[in-house]
């Protein structure tokens, strides 16, 4: 443990001695904020020896919008759409976390049918997020084609979102207390169609990558992080699970209706990029399992709990977190009894996971930095908020 902290703490000396860096073998280059492989506006300052990475420093905040400040100036209801803009590839998960946190603070609960709808949409969103990850990650490693395959199939999920709530990306699907919309006619059929449609597509992705020699060489033993390091660095989600820690908030502290479903938590053993790939691929299959159970067992009933028109939680504070596709997404809300949060803190998984980049890439090559950024699956909208 101490070892980890030392490595994570060791400061980078990014000063270039006397501007003659070409003289020595050390090269400081700026990866980003405009760079094709930094997934947005991440800027990584790399200190290189030839192509070997001696150290990194992340410069973030280019997309900072002050979401937490905005929250203090909006009512609980008005703030709901803002959370979609953090991790915009998993907007549904963000909404679920926020709505559940406020519900918990108000001590109300969504009705079972709403919970099932939430589970279905959130798991679909998890698949969509993982698809986007897979496509961009493969593109970073040089395989162009999976990107187009995943976008093709992600379209089916977005169509379901669009039919359900009108939006495709920033869905704003849930409301505090339940769901705004009843499922549309044919929702279940659409979801079931997707359940039949998607498994062969996962096989297709895997046929392209899983046993591909180059893919194996590029991902095996790259960006290795141990489970203990993950915990010390607060890394959660598939990255933690790929390091062999079987921990998923859906099982550990079930929320929504997850306690009613039967699914497994896929884990890896080596904690390398390849294991993270396998874990996410397996998670997509598990998500399909959950969706299948949910859509078959979806109960009838109201979709909105008994919440007042004006959301006014009592004085107090609450922390609620869910398992977002990237890791633990938490909301810490302090209420002063008014209609606006007194303080709303988002615990963003991408932000915390990104911290592990440095110890994951030290000693690797530039090409691996790209692979590791891809495998961390960060979304800069969430890192910077």
């Amino acid at each position: 443990m101490n070892d980890v902290s030392n490595r994570a703490l060791s400061n980078l000396d990014l000063e270039t001695p006397d501007k003659t860096y070409l003289d020595s073998n050390e090269l400081v280059i700026n990866m980003g904020p405009q760079h094709p492989a930094t997934h947005g506006v991440l800027r990584v300052i790399l200190k290189l020896d030839g192509e070997k990475v001696l150290g990194t420093e992340c410069v973030i905040g280019y997309l900072h919008r002050g979401v937490e400040k905005i929250a203090e100036n909006r009512t609980y209801t008005m703030f709901n759409p803002y959370v979609d803009r953090m991790d915009y590839v998993a907007a549904v998960s963000n909404g679920l976390g926020y709505c559940e946190a406020v519900e918990k603070l108000m001590n109300v609960e969504a009705p079972p049918r709403a919970k099932y709808i939430r589970v279905i949409l959130t798991e679909l969103n998890r698949i969509a997020s993982h698809q986007l990850w897979l496509g961009t990650h493969a593109l970073d490693i040089g395989a162009m084609t999976p990107l187009f395959y995943t976008f093709r199939d992600r379209e089916e999920i977005l169509k379901i979102f669009e039919r359900y709530c009108g939006a495709r990306l920033t869905t704003h699907a849930f409301r505090i207390g339940g769901c705004q919309y009843e499922t549309y006619a044919g929702f279940e059929k659409d979801v079931k169609n997707f359940l039949a449609f998607f498994p062969p597509k996962i096989d297709e992705y895997e046929a392209l990558l899983t046993t591909n020699r180059i893919w194996l060489e590029r991902t095996k033993n790259v960006g290795v992080i141990s489970g203990a390091d993950c915990i010390a660095l607060g890394v959660t989600g598939p990255v933690l699970r790929a390091s062999g820690v079987q921990w998923d908030l859906r099982k550990a502290q079930p929320y929504a209706a997850y306690s009613e479903f039967d699914f497994e938590i896929p884990i890896g053993t080596n904690g390398d990029t390849y294991d993270r790939y396998l874990v996410r691929m397996a998670e997509m299959r598990q998500s399909l399992r959950i969706i299948e159970q949910a859509v078959n067992g979806i109960p009838e009933g109201p979709i909105m709990g008994k919440v007042p028109k004006v959301i006014k939680p009592p004085v107090g504070e609450i922390y609620h977190s869910i398992e977002a596709p990237k890791g633990e997404l938490g909301y810490f809300i302090v209420s002063d009894g008014s209609t606006q949060p007194y303080r709303l803190r988002v615990r963003p998984p991408s932000f915390v996971n990104l911290q592990a980049l440095d110890i994951m890439v030290r000693g690797l090559l530039v090409a691996d930095v790209v692979a590791v950024i891809g495998t961390l699956d960060i979304v800069l909208g969430e890192v910077d908020r």
Binding site: G66, K69, D336, R343
Partner: protein
């Protein structure tokens, strides 16, 4: 422009922090559910007061209370446990929580600003224990300008989290290896998540110098 736009309804400095101490023994049993958020929904609009914090009793708390006495309060609110501890106890408590109670995962570090209070800031650690599958929050109050020991040596993950708190609230963390702004640019003046920082406020000087525009709005 800078100051006129305050939050539309300036929230009163909540006394939520004081209240629990006063009402601690009172109607606890009726309102506070034991573990999950209870299905019993309060008929919300009528009753202003919801559930209130109740004392948290567990061997863990007893142990610490006997060790530290009055500097430490343990409470439960809506099934979530938290300590309110004196600032001086912070490094000890955090280290003990990790080393002896297996709270090996620091989920989050954050703060809240109460400008009308004497000790203006609440600093909150949200901890989780993998072996116990249990969360606990540790809260402390500090005054503006006061510093607080860094917990980076306890949980490496605290590095960026503390930097963000510093960035947003201006709270100093002693012993942090690299305490500088993280989300805002380095030369920025002001700490945006303080309550006296308006939502439209910005560091105009920085914007004009670095972006070459009059205003970022």
């Amino acid at each position: 422009m800078a100051e006129e736009v305050k939050s539309p309804a300036p929230p009163p400095p909540p006394e939520g922090e004081k209240k629990p101490a006063a009402e601690k023994p009172a109607p606890a049993a009726s309102a506070a559910p034991a573990k999950p958020a209870a299905p019993a929904k309060p008929a919300a609009p009528a009753k202003p007061a919801g559930p209130v914090p109740v004392p948290w009793t567990s061997p863990l708390v007893e142990k610490y209370r006997s060790q530290y006495g009055s500097g430490l309060e343990a409470q439960t609110y809506l099934g979530q446990n938290y300590f309110t501890v004196d600032r001086s106890l912070i490094p000890d408590i955090l280290r003990l929580l990790r080393d002896e109670e297996q709270f090996d995962y620091c989920v989050d570090i954050t703060a809240a600003h109460y400008p009308k209070r004497e000790k203006q800031f609440d600093v909150v650690w949200i901890l989780y224990s993998f072996p116990r599958n249990e969360r606990v929050r540790v809260k402390t109050q500090i005054a503006d300008g006061a510093s607080i020991p860094s917990s980076v040596s306890i949980w490496p993950t605290a590095n960026w989290l503390e930097r963000e708190v510093y960035d947003m609230f201006g709270i100093q963390f002693d012993g942090h290896p690299d305490l500088k702004r993280i989300l805002l640019p380095d030369g920025w003046k002001g700490y945006p998540l303080r309550k006296d920082y308006g939502i439209l406020q910005q560091d105009k000087e920085w914007v004009q110098i670095n972006l070459g525009i009059e205003s970022g709005q």
